[in-house]
């Protein structure tokens, strides 16, 4: 069984650096999800772990071994590709058994392992088919089956669900979670879909431009995003962000004013601020409620009434757009002027560099 250590891992293509020194430790049996926008380097990082990309600098340990120079087949990993990468000319049986065949496993052992994997994935009836005769979901299973038979210590998934339709994706997601429970292996999973990340991960790694933005459990990331990037990336709909400047600092409270708000007092790490600093205020749409008086005043642009909740899009005086998700049904007309309020503990203040400054506990 194996955890992973990534120490100052770097990757560059010529002069272009795409992974800029990643430090990360992953514990044995953990389900870790790499998320980030496309091009952030999450897939590259995964491929470096797999051994498909050479490591330019730093050190990669799987278990207690430094594997920078180790062939993929000797790293104890298995990988499921976005496109599944099934061998079109082989049957499902041969696809699943290809790795064992290459390892010259005895025939009976091979057969047993293939059938075991097929049973786990409930695809025993597909073994004689060619990949072209399978549906997307079935192909997905085969790809996972191919990974399982290798009995790896680390599973690597590269956006494995992105080619499935929405309903199937939810099913497969749950199956993957179950698989993780059953096998207890370390899994590293790359996706750009934050719902997958939130539901599957023990630990999420948010990447942007080759740099780790934040590592933490899904709830941690949602509740205490470390910076503007994570705040904007995690959570749906996106966190509202308003710019303003510090007008007063008092104990662990900071007062912020801007075009769209006047003298809003918030709890934050006051030592990080001084009067006149440019800051960004972040507030999740779900944390807003209508009130007679409040910090934010704007004009309704669009109302979506879903019954159990109402999404209100509001235009603020600065022209910025702002979204509120209100519990229950509310009848609002476009053009109507509304006022929102929120609890000061629900807001996050980001300093001029975009770092979140929470009040010291």
């Amino acid at each position: 069984m194996a955890g992973l250590e990534l120490n100052r891992l770097r990757k560059s293509y010529g002069a272009v650096e795409v992974i800029k020194g990643v430090d990360l430790s992953i514990m044995d049996g953990e389900f870790v999800v790499f998320v980030g926008p496309s091009g952030c380097g999450k897939s590259t990082l995964l491929r470096m772990i797999a051994g498909l990309e050479e490591i330019t600098g730093g050190e990669l340990k799987i278990g207690s071994l430094v594997v920078n120079e180790v062939e993929p087949r000797d790293r104890g990993i298995a990988m499921v590709f976005q496109s599944y990468a099934l061998y079109p000319h082989m049957t499902v049986y041969d696809n699943v058994g290809f790795g064992l065949k290459l390892a010259r496993a005895p025939k009976e052992e091979r057969d047993r392992k293939i059938r075991d994997a097929a049973r786990i994935l409930q695809m025993e009836h597909l073994l004689d088919r060619k990949p072209s005769q399978l549906s997307g979901g079935q192909r997905q299973r085969v790809a996972i089956g191919r990974a399982i038979v290798r009995q790896p210590e680390v599973f690597l998934f590269d956006e494995p669900l992105s080619n499935l339709d929405a309903a199937l994706r939810v099913d497969m997601r749950m199956e993957l979670a179950k698989l993780h429970q059953d096998l207890g292996a370390t899994m590293i999973y790359v996706t750009h879909d934050q719902v997958e990340a939130m539901t599957l991960a023990d630990k999420i790694v948010v990447l942007n431009a080759g740099i780790v933005q934040q590592v933490g459990s899904p709830i941690e990331l949602y509740q205490r995003p470390a910076n503007l990037f994570v705040a904007g990336f995690i959570g749906s709909p996106k966190m509202n962000l308003l710019s303003g400047s510090v007008t007063a600092v008092d104990g662990d409270a900071v007062t912020i004013s801007g075009k769209d708000m006047a003298n809003v007092q918030l709890s934050a790490d006051a030592e990080a601020f001084k009067v006149g600093d440019m800051v960004t205020l972040g507030i999740r749409p779900q944390r807003l409620h209508l009130s007679g008086s409040g910090a934010l005043v704007g004009q309704v642009v669009l109302v979506e009434r879903l019954g159990n909740e109402t999404n209100v899009s509001v235009s603020l005086p600065s022209g910025a757009n702002f979204l509120a998700v209100l519990d229950g049904d509310h009848v609002l007309q476009p053009g109507q002027v509304v006022t929102f309020d929120f609890a000061t503990s629900d807001a996050v203040v980001f300093d001029v560099d975009g770092i979140a400054r929470y009040a010291q506990a």
Partner: protein
Amino acid sequence: MSVTTADSAGALQTTVRKKPIQARYPGWFILPAAVIYSVLFLAPTVSSLYFSLTRWTLFDSVFIGFENFAQFFREPFLVQGLINTVIYAVVTSGMKVVIGMAFAVLLTSNIVARGYLRSVVFFPVLVSTVGVGITFTVLMHPTQGMINETLALFGIKGPGWLTNPSLALYSVALVDVWKGVGLATVIYIAGLVAIPRDYYEAARIDGATPWQNFWYVTLPLSRPATATVIILSFIGGLRTFDLIWAMTKGGPGFASDTVASVIYKQYQAGFYGLSTAGNVVLFVLIAVLVIPLTMILNRRRGHE
């Protein structure tokens, strides 16, 4: 479990490289082909550049500078040969494009006996050039040839296909097309089959006539196939030798000589230096014509 800052692992820079990760696409895959190609093709070709500057007989060679090239261009029929070569290449590749396209359109439609027609059109590709040359030399005989005898039935006096000096080159080109159009057709069929049906359906909804269908959908979308057909048959046409040699030997007189047949004649006559110089001339001619052609065809393709 938490983000560590970048400085904490400075000592790790000194990872020892034991063995590099196995190259996934190892260079030695190229090696067998590269060795065969370099030794048997490139080396003689490069050395021929030197030999083209010498006059060599069976046992010795004398360096004579560019005299061979001068002589080659003094060859009374070289200029005609150059023109003939270009005419031949243009005529054959042009006809292969047009006829191949027409056949392909016909053979991808729901015409009856499609399988038979495809086979019949492709069949000449399989027959040896020499065999085809011999057969058509006989068929194109001015008085006893089947072609003219058939024309005579309609009261037409057929021309001397291969004996009329102003016609011989075109007759050979015609046979070349006969033999080669099957390949062009297959390439075009492949190109047409690859065009998504959506385009035709969209065009039908737009009310396109069959002709518009062809002009605005088939033609532009089969451009990759056209490029392949043109480049292959144009290079083939410029280098053509077998067929001309089998049918007219460049005759009557020198009327259907191409650069390749002139080269071969020099070689046969034992003028090895001269012949090799001709090789160089032919190469330059091909390069001058084909490289720009390739670039034009590929550039257009890039815009699609």
